[in-house]
């Protein structure tokens, strides 16, 4: 039963993807893409309504029938309200997410509601192959927006691409669930889980001597600001004079970038090497040392900062070792 249902859902998703074609975010949900079906509770309600109708007809009771018809009509109205709960809702998402294997990739979705009514219990579900699918839900107040974060648990290193996510709601009463598929592509870069016991190659000279070498007296000039450089190095006076954002540069920092290399990790298997490299990247980043990454097929020249770290981790996630 369950597998049959799963198969039907897979077919439906594929059909919806073909029907609607790829979407570009943000997207406003129109009525053509909202599907609706009764839930199990709704089916129980329908059976009860049928029993009510039969009882009312059998007793020839006009009042009983009036009650039964009122309840049936309430169910029909509820169906419209359930459908409306998704209608004309604007969805945007950050299409890229970073994670470590064993952790969770977090996609954030922004729901914008331009109408004068609150949208309650909007659930966003991301179905990744191999995982059961995860979802989060939230309310979007009238004329406002709300963000909903969906954490997808990831176990293995790699690049996870989702071509579809789902917005669903059971509001009100949980008798119906309305849903829509959005063909927006989401990418999760899953870096290897950072672990390993090897010491980074640059530490041969000792971390202590390095930290001593760092100092303000080694000022060597100004260079252009790049995201990720600590604010304490900002040349505020230059900025105040109306110049471009600049940072003070120090000889000790600019010198001696360390290379984190695949080839330095002989004797380990591929995934262990990548895990070790990942740990090194994080350590170097935490210590604010410039570093470069060299793995088969990819070379990232030395730099530092958040953007650089992300680039390195993504390279590790996407690595395709021999």
């Amino acid at each position: 039963m369950s597998t049959l249902r799963q198969a039907a859902i897979v077919k439906l998703r594929a059909w919806a993807a073909r029907r609607h074609g790829p979407d570009s975010l943000p997207i406003s949900i129109d009525r053509r893409r909202i599907y609706i079906l009764p839930t199990r509770f709704g089916i129980m309600l329908a059976l009860m309504l049928a029993a009510m109708l039969i009882a009312g007809l059998n007793y020839n009771s006009n009042l009983g029938l009036a009650f039964a018809f009122l309840m049936s009509s309430l169910a029909v109205v509820t169906m419209h309200h359930c459908n409306r709960n998704l209608l004309k809702l604007c969805v945007d998402a950050n299409t890229e997410a970073d994670a470590f294997a064993g952790g969770a990739a977090r996609f954030e979705f922004l729901l914008r509601n331009d109408s004068g009514i609150e949208r309650r219990d909007i659930e966003i579900r991301c179905l990744a192959a191999g995982t059961g699918g995860t979802s989060s839900s939230g309310n979007v107040p009238a004329k406002s927006s709300a963000s909903v974060a969906v954490d997808i648990p990831v176990t293995r290193r790699g690049v996870l691409r989702l071509h579809q996510f789902e917005l669903r709601t059971r509001h009100p009463f949980g008798w119906f669930h309305a849903w829509t598929y959005v063909q927006g592509s989401l990418t999760a870069y899953i870096a290897p889980s950072p672990h390993g016991s090897r010491r980074p190659p640059g530490t041969g000279r000792g971390a202590a001597s390095r930290s001593e070498a760092r100092g303000d007296e080694d000022f060597s000039g100004l260079r252009a600001y790049q995201p990720g450089i600590p604010l304490k190095h900002m040349a505020w006076k230059v900025l105040a004079r109306g110049g471009d954002a600049a940072v003070r540069s120090y000889t000790s920092m600019a010198a001696q970038p360390e290379w984190l290399e695949w080839s330095a990790l002989d004797g380990l298997d591929a995934e262990a090497r990548l895990s070790q490299l990942c740990l090194w990247v994080l350590e170097s980043d935490a210590a604010q040392r410039p570093y470069g990454l060299r793995i088969p097929g990819t070379e990232i020249s030395p730099a530092q900062g958040a953007a650089h770290r992300v680039a390195c981790l993504r390279a590790l996630a996407a690595a395709n070792p021999p």
């Binding site: 509770f41 129980m44 309600l45 009860m48 009510m52 039969i54 009882a55 009312g56 007809l57 059998n58 007793y59 020839n60 009771s61 006009n62 009042l63 009983g64 029938l65 009036a66 009650f67 039964a68 018809f69 009122l70 309840m71 049936s72 009509s73 309430l74 029909v76 109205v77 419209h80 309200h81 409306r84 209608l87 004309k88 922004l110 331009d114 109408s115 004068g116 009514i117 309650r120 219990d121 659930e123 995860t134 979802s135 989060s136 839900s137 939230g138 309310n139 979007v140 107040p141 406002s144 927006s145 709300a146 963000s147 909903v148 974060a149 059971r170 509001h171 009100p172 009463f173 949980g174």
Partner: protein, 669 residues
């Protein structure tokens, strides 16, 4: 503005139910069960209330439900008990009892919100069950109120995250129900009704019989005479018969044991043929449920529209089962008839039999009077004459009578109500060998001038006699009419009013009587239009809609068409709320002004402000220049002036309303 990041639980169904929601659902269940409080066995109600109370108390102390084995055992015990009491679960009371018990025990084991869902469905169903045999408007309103409350509770239960407040839940549920109303009305009007039940359900016998019974002892009818309850209502198609012919026939009593008259079940004879005379009265009787199988008709019934009903040998209209809910019967009666068939010997024997050794003084009296009046009719008149000439009184408070009730009444107390006179008269007739029987029923009725129908109350209960006179057949003789003619001419209120306590005199004040009649007229309207809405009414409705040759198929087509329209409306109504908020009043009035000017040939350009527009209008329509300039200036002042404007929006609206641009001139740019 971005609301804070929300991360809710995966899905609410498995979330534990909160104390407040539990309390809410218990209240809803209690609300629905209160409608059954008169019919359900007390122990079922106590059990359900107990289950709810225990669960709420446990929840208050944050403890979980009692162990499963205990719950299952208790539930099984209760259900076995219920079955032993009713021997079925098929009937209304038994079925409702079962559902109530299920709801109670489900409530007891409630942990998650999902458990509550079943309870809400039971509440809905139990509410509807209360309406199956109910008939009052207030009951419907009460249960729809309960449905509203339940729906609001369900809204809170199914909400992810924090539950919305009670007030907003009730408002939202109320709005949904209001939107459901048109659809429900269409269903109700056009959903085809069937003539009979789909299958027969056992009668529960849930209400006690009321009104006349099939026995009559001295004093029985006096109890009824104090009751204001309505027995039935009658609408005459043409004219109503005169008061002295308004006898409503009920059960006919044959067997007398000296104290009590009983209906005879010994023979179910067919009704003898009658020759009818005088006018035919066509009328509709709306019977209140009285749990007996007879149907009151005007004496003597000739035709009726209830296929299952039939006349007994003594001309009482009966149906196979008891009248357990209000029914209406269309019938035709003739007040003057003559029997054309001779009395069968078996019937003669039954209607002349007297209990041996009872009422000896009466028998003696009858023999002496019969000696003086050998002719049957002479004898009848002599007995009636005795009632009027001797000191007999008509009273609602007759003294108690002992075993020989007729003797006591005729020779000692001489005070009685219609039952006493009918009984004594029939005894005197039988003692003289004239076949006589006691007919019970109602006599008279109150005309409701607000709605053209007659109300017959229990206080109109009456008993009279029929005697068999050779050559003339059964003759109605009402000895009470001889004692208290007013009883027959004006009804029981007039005849008995003299000895009623002063305290109830206010009931006879005109305004009270009027108010009561008006209320009764409304009740009757509710009956006719709502409770008795059936196949015929639907047919009439289709005829009213000018649909040729209405039948069931056409009805379904009309239903489908109306539903389609209603669904279009619903879609529009529900989606309309998604549109941006309506314009503020000032803008609305301004748009109206622009629309008027557009109709006059000078539409406003999208880029134009009010002042520029006024200038252009002044150029194109010099006749409107002054008024439009003034209006636009006012609009500008209202909209943009920092200080409070000199005029109000209301004044501006009135000015716009009064503005008439006149006929369209040649086009202008």
């Amino acid at each position: 503005m971005t609301a804070p990041l929300v991360k809710a639980a995966p899905w609410v169904r498995t979330a534990p139910v909160s104390y407040q929601d539990l309390l809410g659902i218990c209240a809803c269940l209690a609300w629905a069960l209160a409608a059954h409080v008169t019919s359900l066995p007390a122990w079922v109600l106590v059990t359900v209330v107990g289950c709810g109370a225990i669960r709420v108390l446990l929840a208050k102390r944050s403890r979980s439900a009692p162990p499963r084995s205990l719950r299952v055992a208790l539930a099984a015990l209760a259900i076995v008990f219920l079955f032993l009491q009713f021997h079925t679960f098929n009937g209304l009371t038994a079925g409702t009892g079962l559902l109530a018990l299920m709801a109670g025990f489900k409530l007891l084991e409630t942990q998650t919100k999902r458990d509550i869902y079943v309870v809400t469905l039971i509440i809905y169903f139990v509410s509807m069950a209360a309406l199956l045999e109910g008939d009052s408007f207030w009951m419907l309103a009460y249960l729809i109120g309960g449905c509203w409350l339940t729906t609001a509770t369900l809204l809170r239960l199914t909400a992810g995250g924090p539950a919305p407040g009670w007030r907003s839940s009730l408002r939202y549920a109320g709005r949904l129900m209001c939107q459901a109303l048109p659809l429900a009305l269409i269903f109700w009007l056009f959903f085809p009704r069937f003539a009979g039940p789909l299958w027969h359900l056992p009668e529960d016998g849930r209400s006690a019989a009321s009104g006349l019974s099939d026995t009559m002892s001295p004093g029985d009818i006096t109890d009824l005479a104090r009751s204001d309850e309505v027995a039935f209502r009658v609408h005459f198609a043409n004219t109503a018969p005169p008061p002295q012919e308004r006898y409503w026939r009920g059960p006919v009593l044959h067997d007398f044991d000296g104290h009590t008259w009983r209906r005879s079940y010994s023979a179910s004879l067919r009704a003898p043929a009658l020759r009818t005379q005088g006018p035919a009265y066509r009328y509709t009787v709306t019977l209140e449920p009285h749990q007996h199988n007879w149907i009151f008709t005007l004496d003597w019934p000739a035709q009726w529209d209830l296929p299952s009903a039939a006349l007994t040998g003594d001309y009482t209209l009966v149906q196979p089962g008891p009248v357990s809910r209000a029914i209406d019967v269309q019938a035709t009666s003739y007040t003057r008839v003559q029997s054309t068939e001779p009395l069968e010997p078996m019937q003669r024997g039954r209607d002349t039999r007297l209990p041996p050794g009872r009422n000896p003084r009466t028998l003696q009296l009858a023999q002496s009077m019969r000696g003086a009046h050998p002719d049957d009719m002479d004898y009848v008149h002599a007995v009636l004459g005795m009632f009027t000439q001797q000191a007999f009184y008509y009273t609602l408070r007759p003294p108690q009578l002992a075993g020989n009730s007729v003797d006591d009444f005729l020779f000692d107390t001489k005070r009685g109500f219609c039952g006493h006179y009918a009984s004594a008269f029939a005894t005197l007739m039988r003692a003289a060998g004239i076949p006589a029987r006691v007919v019970t029923g109602y006599q008279g009725g109150t005309f409701n001038r607000f709605a053209d129908y007659w109300i017959v109350r229990q206080s109109d209960a009456h008993a009279w006699d029929e005697v068999w006179i050779a050559g003339r057949g059964w003759l109605r003789i009402d000895p009470t009419a001889a004692i208290a003619p007013g009883r027959v001419e004006h009804g029981s209120d007039d005849a008995s009013g003299a000895d009623e306590p002063l305290g109830s005199r206010w009931r006879h004040t005109p305004w009270f009587a009027d108010a009561r009649l008006r209320l009764d007229a409304l009740r009757q309207l509710w009956r006719e239009r709502i409770l008795f809405f059936d196949q015929d009414s639907q047919q009439q409705m289709l005829e009213y809609l000018r649909i040729p040759e209405p039948d069931g198929r056409k009805l379904v087509m009309v239903l489908a068409a109306a539903l389609t329209m209603a669904l279009f409306w619903l879609t529009w109504a529900v989606r309309r709320e998604l549109e941006p908020a309506p314009k503020e009043p000032l803008l609305r009035h301004y748009s109206r002004l622009c629309a008027k000017l557009a109709a006059a040939g000078v539409p406003r350009m999208p880029h134009e402000g009010a002042e520029a527009y006024a200038v252009r209008v002044a150029r194109c329509r010099p006749d409107l220049a002054a008024s439009v300039t003034a209006l636009c200036r006012r609009y500008t002042a209202l909209r943009y002036a920092a200080a409070p404007a000199r005029i109000t929006i209301g004044q501006f609206a009135a000015a716009v309303r009064a503005f008439r641009p006149g006929p369209r001139p040649p086009p202008c740019t």
